[in-house]
Subunit: 440 residues, 2 copies
């Protein structure tokens, strides 16, 4: 199916842009308000076999193969996540759910289980089911609709996925499809990793948060009452399909939450991207399609580069968790679902910046810029009331980045775009930051 | 630690025997009642680093390194499971829990969680804790004691392991130790796979079943109410430590259950081993140490060879499930824990042999020998009352070996030692076998 479908997506005419992803800092983004993706362009779809043999690359656009009637594709960009035989493409573009073969080529077996939630199902389940089955009568689709929200990212809810899979008699040759935000992606991915010890799965993220971060890189899992994401697996999808038009139905608060993670990439490794965000935040908040597409693509490229170098988070990958140790503590301390993940991360990022400044690792203007951009994005810049110093410390003690009892943090260091992952810092700075941001 | 400990275990003098595991059929076992392992011999311990770089080999005994004071080790055999960077050794011998450094060299981090059950804890938990901490004050040991039995191999019980790990603030640099039979090994292994997305673990199997089969090869998981082992992971241990003296406390029925799996290896790929079993069944049932040690070693070698060729069960590995599709149906249909796993597998093996005979794939004398050896081992040779044809069919429909709706089975074919894994068989033979063994 993959080979047959690939010819249907050729672009009529477009320029080619390829860049091997090998440097730590990506290429500079354009400083102007207009983005390089503002005109829709097409790219050749990646067959799974060829995608899996390529070293991390991305395609903004490419020429059409000859000998085939040109067919318009809506794929604006393909970012490859390079993980050897677990490599996969991220397709990005508006209206990708209207291109059935893009999805179908990554389905294994004849049975599909779509995992979604009560919010997303009424919006996109029918469309995804159509995309999976259009001109493809051999495939049958089941679905399980979970309650919506971080507080349901638990073992009881996960069991509903297994129940549905077993009751539907799905076998090893089946495909799970995650349709929703980060919670759905994490739960569906873990269910796919564990069902029959591993079945195929596809990510269709429908929130900005999941499109720029959680759907990429294979981290899956659920929460434990005492801590976020403590139970899970590293398990890579077969592809990630980002239809940017799904953002049209996203609430403003969810959009801002995703921007929190976009800001992160700029801070930890991509200064030009951060500078682009400073100039284009209004366009992002106004959901200007080209701005959103560029932000998603650039975020996925950053994430793909990091994951390709350190899939299982032995070091570098941890830097993607800037602000997350404080943020997870807020999420756990408040009760899952009170704040959105990106909201907690935003407050956590301000705290990490504050601590980095107290350590003398970044200067005051940078600390200020971080505060300003997150505030402009209408994100929280301090933890909520009720988060005491003790509460932070107690929850952070079970963070996954603790090693042999030592809490390691991602902190900013040097000029914009530099960071460190370290347990070697003055504890006083941590105490001072906590005291500065907490009531007691 | 690994390097320091390795010199302590050198044998004073012994002959060397190495054989690369590369042929499908292992070397012939001695036909006589005495076994080649009847005299205790020693072997050089494998350091993790060197073990992981070796192609599958086993050592019955080896010469001592020079320049080191000789120290007696109780390791009778080491079987390597060759899986590239996930390779690991299986240590086999009497009294291995009295050798702390054998265990300690495979511990990662300073924190250990021993997962065991209410039956095994009073017998061996103290000893294992001693072995982990003797002359090793840096390591602290926690334990979680689960209820004993297959019916507790479920998500609720698994959560107790996660609860203990989180409450104890274990971090990624910790080690889970499975101390018990197959249920404990499967659950602890899956917990280790999923806790913080994967931590180190060690198998210390204490039943014959787990020593000859379930502790080796990385299959972990739990049951779903509708089917066995439907939720889990492929996750390899750091080592398997088989202290054959733990069999001294094993009930007769559990011993027989393990023999069911030993018989399997002979039938599917090792005719000389089957012939050895026919001559030595009385010695096995009488727990003659050298007979047991030989049976364990030979079983582990067979399993290691198969797993090294097909870790994730894309084909060959499925042959290890001879009798298991019928057997799992019995276990699920009766309610988990009514019959022991090996009991259900024994009845399932007789059914598979019967079906193979009806298909004309094996002759009558072989079918008879299979029946006889299992009966001699005091194992069930037919399913229990209450297992109807319909019940078998309904449960087998969700077996993991179903692919695109087709039930594939492991069946015997040709002379002793040959089998096939296939969905290409006459359905009439399956129906006839079910009708012959069921009440209706």
């Amino acid at each position: 199916m993959a080979a047959a479908a690939s010819s249907l997506l050729a672009a009529a005419s477009a320029s080619t842009s390829r860049a091997a992803i090998s440097t730590r800092r990506p290429r500079a983004a354009p400083a102007a308000a207009s983005t390089p993706s503002s005109s829709r362009s097409s790219c050749p779809p990646l067959r799974a076999s060829s995608a899996r043999s390529r070293r991390g690359r991305f395609f903004i656009a490419a020429a059409a193969p000859t000998m085939q009637p040109p067919a318009v594709s809506r794929v604006s960009a393909v970012v490859d996540v390079d993980l050897g035989d677990r490599s996969y493409p991220i397709y990005i573009g508006p209206g990708l759910l209207d291109e059935p073969d893009l999805l179908q080529r990554h389905v294994i077996g004849k049975r599909v289980l779509v995992v979604t939630n009560t919010t997303v199902a009424p919006l996109y389940l029918e469309k995804v089911t159509w995309a999976l089955t259009h001109d493809n009568p051999n495939v049958s689709v089941e679905s399980v609709i979970l309650p919506d929200g971080e507080k349901y990212k638990d073992m009881d809810t996960l069991m509903k996925v297994f129940d549905k899979a077993v009751e539907s008699r799905l076998d090893r040759r089946c495909t799970f499809v995650a349709l929703g935000g980060g919670v759905i992606g994490d739960m569906c991915g873990f269910a796919a990793a564990a069902f029959l010890r591993g079945v195929n799965f596809i990510q269709i993220p429908t929130t900005l948060m999941s499109q720029v971060d959680s759907s990429v890189g294979g981290k899956t899992g659920i929460n434990h009452p005492l801590g976020k994401n403590l139970i899970g697996a590293f398990y890579q999808p077969q592809c990630v399909l980002i239809d940017t038009e799904t953002l049209n139905t996203l609430p403003d608060r969810e959009l801002a939450s995703g921007i929190g993670e976009v800001v992160k990439y700029g801070l930890i490794r991509d200064a030009p991207f951060f500078e682009w965000q400073e100039k284009n935040m209004a366009a992002l908040l106004a959901r200007e399609p080209s701005a959103l597409t560029y932000a998603i693509k650039r975020s996925c490229e950053n994430k793909a580069e990091v994951v390709a170098q350190d899939e299982k988070e032995s070091g570098l990958r941890a830097t993607l968790n800037l602000g997350h140790t404080f943020g997870h503590a807020i999420e756990t301390g408040l009760g899952y679902g009170e704040w959105l993940h990106g909201e907690a991360v935003a407050a956590g990022t301000v705290m990490a910046a504050d601590m980095s400044y107290r350590l003398g690792w970044i200067d005051e203007p940078l600390k200020r810029r971080i505060f300003d951009i997150l505030e402009q994005a209408k994100l929280p810049v301090a933890p909520p009331k009720g988060m005491t110093v003790e509460k932070f410390k107690k929850i952070m003690a079970v963070d996954k980045k603790v090693a042999d009892g030592l809490l390691r943090l991602i902190l900013l260091k040097g000029p914009l775009g530099g960071c460190v992952f370290t347990g070697d810092y003055d504890r006083k700075a941590l105490d001072e930051t906590l005291r500065a941001f907490c009531d007691n």
